[in-house]
C-alpha cells in the first residue's frame, strides 16, 4: 500500500463521463479508478478493465461441493458404516442428489462471496480513503494518478474541458486500514487545494 497524489474530477452525468474517460485515456493519463453510485454498464470496458473471473471461481467452488458431497456420502454408506436400510443398496446415488445439489450451491455461494470480499478487500472495520462522499450518492468520481511527469494544472484544465464539475488534488493512501468511520483517521491529511 502506498501514498500517492491524485487529481480528482467529479461528473454528474454518465453521458459526460463516458467521453471523458476515453479522452483521458487517449491523452495518456493513468486512471486510478472511477467511483460510481451504481454499476454503470460498459464503464469497465471503456476504462479498459479486463473481465472478472469471479464466476470461474464460483464454478470451481461448486464442483468442490459436488465432489465433497458425493465422496463423503459414498464413503459413509459403503465403507465407514454401511447400514442395511430395508435391503436397499448402500450406494444409493439417486437419494443423494438433493444433498449433493445443496452442497454444490452452498459451497459455490459461500466461496464466491468470500472471494469477492477478499479480492475487493471488503470486511467489517475496514476503512478506505473516499475521494468524495457523494460518490455513493449522485457523483461519478474519476481519479487520475499523478506521476512525476504529470503537470497538475494542465491535467486539471483537461478535466474541466472534459466536463468535470468539481476538480481537486488529493494525496491519499490507496489501500485499506483498520479504522472507524466516526473518527478522523485519514492516515495522511490532504494538502490544501492549489
Amino acid at each position: 500500500m502506498s501514498v500517492k497524489k491524485f487529481v480528482v474530477g467529479c461528473f454528474d452525468d454518465e453521458k459526460v463521463l463516458f467521453p471523458a474517460v476515453s479522452k483521458v485515456r487517449k491523452a495518456g493519463y493513468k486512471i486510478h479508478d472511477v467511483y460510481t453510485p451504481f454499476p454503470v454498464h460498459g464503464l469497465d470496458h471503456a476504462m479498459g478493465l479486463r473481465e472478472t473471473s469471479l464466476h470461474t471461481a464460483g464454478f470451481i467452488y461448486g464442483l468442490t461441493g459436488t465432489t465433497t458431497a458425493v465422496t463423503f456420502m459414498s464413503w459413509v454408506f459403503t465403507k465407514d458404516w454401511p447400514v442395511n436400510i430395508g435391503g436397499k443398496p448402500h450406494f444409493a446415488l439417486p437419494a443423494w442428489i438433493p444433498i449433493t445439489f445443496e452442497l454444490t450451491v452452498l459451497m459455490a455461494a459461500v466461496g464466491m462471496v468470500l472471494t469477492f470480499c477478499y479480492i475487493c478487500q471488503l470486511a467489517p472495520f475496514i476503512k478506505k480513503h473516499h475521494f468524495h462522499v457523494r460518490a455513493t450518492d449522485d457523483l461519478f468520481v474519476m481519479v487520475i494518478e499523478c506521476t512525476e511527469k504529470t503537470n497538475e494544472e494542465e491535467l486539471k484544465n483537461f478535466m474541466a474541458g472534459a466536463g468535470a464539475k468539481e476538480i481537486n488534488v488529493q494525496v491519499a493512501e490507496t489501500g485499506w486500514w483498520i479504522g472507524r468511520y466516526d473518527r478522523e483517521q485519514q492516515l495522511y491529511k490532504e494538502p490544501s487545494v492549489a
Binding site: 479508478d33 469471479l54 465407514d80 447400514v83 444409493a92 452442497l103 450451491v105 452452498l106 475487493c120 471488503l122
Partner: protein
Amino acid sequence: MSLIKYESPIREPLVDGHKTYHDVTEDICHTIEAKPTRLWYIGFGISVALLLFGVYSVYREVTYGIGQWNVNRTIGWGWDITNFVWWVGIGHAGTLISAILLLFRQGWRTGVNRAAEAMTIFAVMCAGQFPIFHMGRVWMAFFTLPYPNTRGPLWPNFNSPLMWDVFAISTYFTVSLLFWYSGLIPDLATVRDRAKTKFRKHFYGVAAFGWTGSTKHWQRHESLSLVLAGLSTPLVLSVHTIVSFDFATSIVPGWHTTIFPPYFVAGAIFSGFAMVQTLMLIIRRVMNLEQYITLGHIEAMNKVIVLTGSIVGVAYLTELFMAWYSMGVYEQDHFFKYRIAGPYGWSYWLMMTCNVVSPQLFWFKKLRRNIAFTFIMSIVVNIGMWFERFVIIVTSVYRDYLPSSWSIYYRPSIWEIGFYLGTFGLFFTCFFLFAKYFPVIAIAEIKHVLKTTGETYKNDMEGLEKMTDEQFYEVTHHDDHHDSTVKVAQH
C-alpha cells in the same frame, strides 16, 4: 440518448415523479435518519410482546415436553409442521423476485426485491424453529449434523428426506442471507456517507465493509449477483421440492403423490407473493414510497398471484382426479370421504375458497390495481395457504390404519398457538428493525434503471416517437457517434 425510437405504451414508468439520483437517495434514506414514529414504536412493541409470549410457549414445550401441545400419536405433526411449511413457503417469494426475475430481466423487481429478500430471510428463520423444537429433545438438534462424533461415528441418514430438509433449509438460509447482504453493501455505504451522527457513521461504516464504489468492484459485484441469482433459482425450486418430499416419499394416502413438488413450489410462490403484498402495501404508505412501489408493481405481483393460484387449483383438482382414476380404494376413501368431507371437511373448503376461487377476481384489471382489495386478498391467500398445509398434514393422517387410533378432535393447545404467534413476533420484530435501519429499497439498483424506466425517460420517449426519422437521426447521432466507448455506453 437512446437508440430506440419506440417505447411500448404498455410499460409504465417503474419510478414515478421526475427523480434525480440524489432524490432517490434522499427518498429512501430519510426514514433511516428520522426518529422512529409512534406507529413504529407501537408495532415494534406488539411484535416484541408476541415474541416474548412465543419464547415462553417454547420454554413450556422444552421443559415439559411435546405433551404441552395437543398433537398425538395419530396426528404427530399438527400445527407445528403446518406452520413450518407455511413459513418456508412465504420465504420463497424473496428469492424468486430477486433471482428468477433478475434472470428474466423483469425491471419491476428493483422496487421490491430488497424488502422481499429480507422477508425471505426472516420467514426462513421462523420456519426453522418448528422442526427444531418438534424434535422434543431440542438439545440433541446437533445430532442432525454430520460431524465425526463419539457414537461410532454414527452418521445421519443421508437417504432420508428429513435429512435433506436440514441441508436444504440451512443452505437456503445461508445463500439468501449472502445474496441479500452482498446487495446491501453498496446501499449501506450510501447511508454511511450521508450519516451525520457518530453512531450512524460507525454502525454503517462497519456494516458497509469499506465499500467505495470502485468500477472494478462494481464489475465483480455484478458478476457475483448474477451467479448468485443463477444459483438461487434452482435452489429456491429445490427447497420446496425437498419440503414436499417429506410427504411425497411416505406411503400415507394423501401424501404419496408425484404432483407434490411442482404443486408445493407454486403454492410457495403464491403465498410468498401474498406476504410481499401485505408488507409492501404497508411500507409504501407508511414510508412514502408510492413513487417507487407503484400500482404497476402491485399489479405485476397480483398477476403472479393469479397465475400461481390457478396452478395450485389445478393441482388440487388433479389430486382428486388421480384418486378417482387410480381406483385405489384407500386413496379414494381418503380424498372423497375424509378430506373433502368428514370432520375436517370445512378446512378443505376454506382452502379451496381462499386459494382457488377468490384469486380469480384478479383477472379484472380494476381489482388488480385496487390497493384495499389487494391488501385484503393478500391476507385471504395466506389464510388459505395455511389451511392448505393443515389439510395436507391433518386430514391425511387423522384416520389412519387402525380405527381405534383415529383422532377426530385435534385442537391446538394454547402453547401450540403461542409458538406460532411467537414466530409472528420474531418475523415482525426483525422486519420492523430492518424497515427502520436498513434501506428498504435497493438504492443502487433503482439508480441503475432510473434513466431507462423513470418517468422523465418515458416523457422523452414520447417526444422521440413524434419525430421523423431524419430528426431522430439528427438527435441520436451527435458528434461523437464514431467514438467506440459511447456505443458501449448506450448498450
